[in-house]
Each structure stands twice: as C-alpha cells, then as structure tokens.
C-alpha cells in the first residue's frame, strides 16, 4: 500500500498555519511530494483571496469577540474558525494525479470528508462546487488553488459551529441576527454535534479525518513534520499573514488594480509575466 506524508499540526495561530499551508504548497511545487495535514486555530476568520474585508466584515464586532482576521492564498468564501468549532484539513496533491476539471478535483479530494463521516455511520454527499452535505445540510466547505505542478485544497469539518458569532462578525445589521435569522442559517448548515446529537471531541474528529485520508486515497499515513526547508520558507512567509498590505490588500496594498502582496512569490510571478 502506498504511503501519504501526513502532519497533525494540532492547535496553531491562524497566521502560522497559513504560512505552513503556503510553504508546504510551494515546496511541493518543486519536490512533487503529496502531503495531508490537519489543524485547528484559536478564533480566526480566514478570508478568501479576493474578498473585500471592508465590505464583508464588521471589524469592531470581530475584535470584540476576539477573532483574528487574515487572508489565504486560495479563493472562495471566508472560513470562521475557533478552537473547538471544527477540524481543518489540507491536502497538497499532484495535478497529474487529479482531474483537471476543478469541480471533479474538489469531488475527489472532498472524499476525505465523506469517508471521515463514515466513522459515525453518517452519509456525506458532495455538493458541487466545493461543499459536503450531511443530512442535506452543509457540514464542510473547501477552497483550492493551483500552481504549475501541484494543487492545495484546504477545508473544514464542522464540529460545534457558532452560527450567531459568525453572523455577528459579518457586516449585517444586528437586528437581522435574530432567532429567525439564525434558524434560517441552521436550516442550511450543520455540524457533528447536531448530526450526532452529542458533543464530539475534536480528537475524535481528527481520528475520523485520518481515516478519511487513508480510505479516500487508498494509502497508509506516514507521520511527518515540516522539513528544515519548509520551516525556513514558512518563517519567511509568516509576516505576510499579519501584514495589512496582504490582509487588506485592496485598500492598504501598494498597488491599485493588482493587489497581490508585494513580497510574495505570486506577486513576483505576476510581475515577471507582465514584463
């Protein structure tokens, strides 16, 4: 049976884990090695590449509730994370091993979550483009970006999700965050606690996700940690995830219509293509 390199990062600050995500992806672009990983973060909001924070979030309310805000390199919608609310996963895989079509590749990798749910006898269903449903409601969302040789997909398996806090952080009028408003989100969103009608400890969710990786790719996990090279790259990338020029890239970045982080590899790539 093939092996898959696997890292369980445990609980980490969101900026740090974002730098690890990017470092694993960029290193794999050169080495071609696939890797799976898990993590959780303290309260954090991870914005998609092209989301305008100033319009999407109420930053005063985010701060009052203790949420850190950063931005990831992949697109799609914001992810609300906190220590006990969910287990988050990442997978860096070779493009040549995966479908070219994005929706098909989402489906293949989201199989990790579908298989993880089997641990509890729950039936997961992939919903295009990038969600997994359980009992007809969203329990997992994912985001993906691609390089020349590899893709990275990261996502979440909700365990104990606080819908009211998520709505409070969003830039919507407080009066809309009523029992009725929360109920309407509850009709579309679920988590392990709701699905199983009991408190599911996160280590149980982590164990299920490990099983999900193994079953989905037909592999045995090989426990690993960051290499020295990955750690070095991550430490170089870490300031980006705190930097307003990246996080608030549309309004506090150095450029007007091209908002990528000036010191980041994607900006260097972008600039070289413009020349």
């Amino acid at each position: 049976m093939d092996e898959l390199r696997f890292i369980d990062f445990g609980l980490l600050d969101v900026q740090k884990i974002m730098s690890y995500n990017e470092a694993l992806f960029r290193t794999a672009e050169k080495t071609g090695e696939s890797v799976g990983f898990l993590w959780t973060t303290p309260k954090a909001i991870i914005m998609g590449y092209s989301q305008l924070i100033e319009k999407e979030l109420n930053l005063d309310r985010c701060k009052a509730l203790g949420y850190e805000v950063t931005r990831r390199i992949s697109g799609g919608g914001m992810a609300f994370s906190s220590e006990k609310s969910q287990m988050q996963y990442g997978y860096v895989g070779r493009l040549e091993d995966l479908p070219y079509d994005m929706t098909e590749s989402y489906k293949e990798i989201c199989g990790i979550v579908v298989h993880a749910l089997e641990k509890w006898g729950l039936s997961g269903e992939f919903k295009p483009i990038n969600d997994v449903l359980c009992q007809g409601k969203k329990i997992s969302g994912s985001a993906q970006t691609r390089g020349e040789n590899m893709l990275i997909q990261h996502g979440t398996l909700l365990a104990d999700f606080n819908i009211k806090e998520m709505m409070t952080c969003c830039n919507i009028p407080l009066e809309k965050i009523s029992d009725k408003g929360i109920k309407s989100v509850e009709e579309r969103l679920t988590d392990l606690n709701r699905a199983l009608e009991r408190k599911v400890p996160l280590d149980e969710a982590a164990e299920a996700m490990r099983m999900g990786f193994e079953k989905n790719f037909g592999v045995r996990l090989k426990e690993s940690r960051l290499t020295k090279q990955e750690e070095k790259l991550a430490s170089e990338l870490l300031p980006k995830y705190y930097d307003e020029k990246w996080v608030f890239r549309y309004t506090r970045g150095r450029t007007r219509s091209c908002g990528a982080y000036p010191q980041s590899p994607e900006q260097a790539e972008f600039s070289s293509k413009q020349r």
Binding site: G48, Y49, S50, Q51, L52, E54, K55, I73, S74, G75, G76, G77, M78, D101, M102, T103, P128, I129, N130, Q144, T145, R146, G147, Y250, T251, R256, S257, C258, G259, A260, E266, E269, F270
Partner: protein
C-alpha cells in the same frame, strides 16, 4: 486616500458565489476596478490580471463583455459556473449604481 470612497458597487450572484464589483469611471472609461467576492477562479492571480485588463475599457456593457470574453479566450484559468456574463452583470450594476 480611501480607495473605496469614490467607487460604485454592484453585486451579482454567479453559480459559484457572489461577485462584488467596485468601479470608478472617468470620462466614460473604467479607471479603477475591484472584482471581489467569494466566487471561484483559479489561479487567483488571474483575478488581478483581469482587473488590470479592464482598466481603460469603455464603461458600457458591450465593451466590458468584449474585454472579459477576450480575457477568457487568452488566459488559462478555471472559473467553474462563473462566466464573462456574470462579471459583466456585476460591473454594469456598479456602473449604473
């Protein structure tokens, strides 16, 4: 200077997510644009390149759609269930706001 202060906003939902377009025009042409939202388009740097391609475009549906269609033809990216028509719709809503 607050970049967003003199930009107009248009929202349109494509099948992959919300497109929130912000546009500034001068003399009938686009002088600044942000195509934000939670829609899916990869590689993401193409979003920056798309914004750049729109600068200088005449602020009318036909020209904007033309720029977007050309961009789709000339660049290698994927935007599942989001099409030039969707971006055009969001941009026109911003221009007419």
């Amino acid at each position: 200077m607050d970049r967003l202060a003199d930009m107009k906003e248009g929202l349109h939902k494509s099948k992959s997510g919300l497109i929130r377009a912000l546009v500034k025009t001068d003399n009938g042409r686009i002088t600044d644009v942000i195509i934000s939202g939670d829609y899916i388009l990869t590689p993401e740097r193409c979003i920056d390149e798309l914004e750049k391609a729109l600068i200088g475009t005449e602020a009318c549906r036909e020209k904007i759609f033309g720029t977007l269609k050309r961009f789709y033809e000339q660049n290698k990216f994927q935007s599942p269930q989001t099409y030039p028509e969707d971006f055009t719709e969001a941009l026109m809503k911003a221009i007419n706001a």
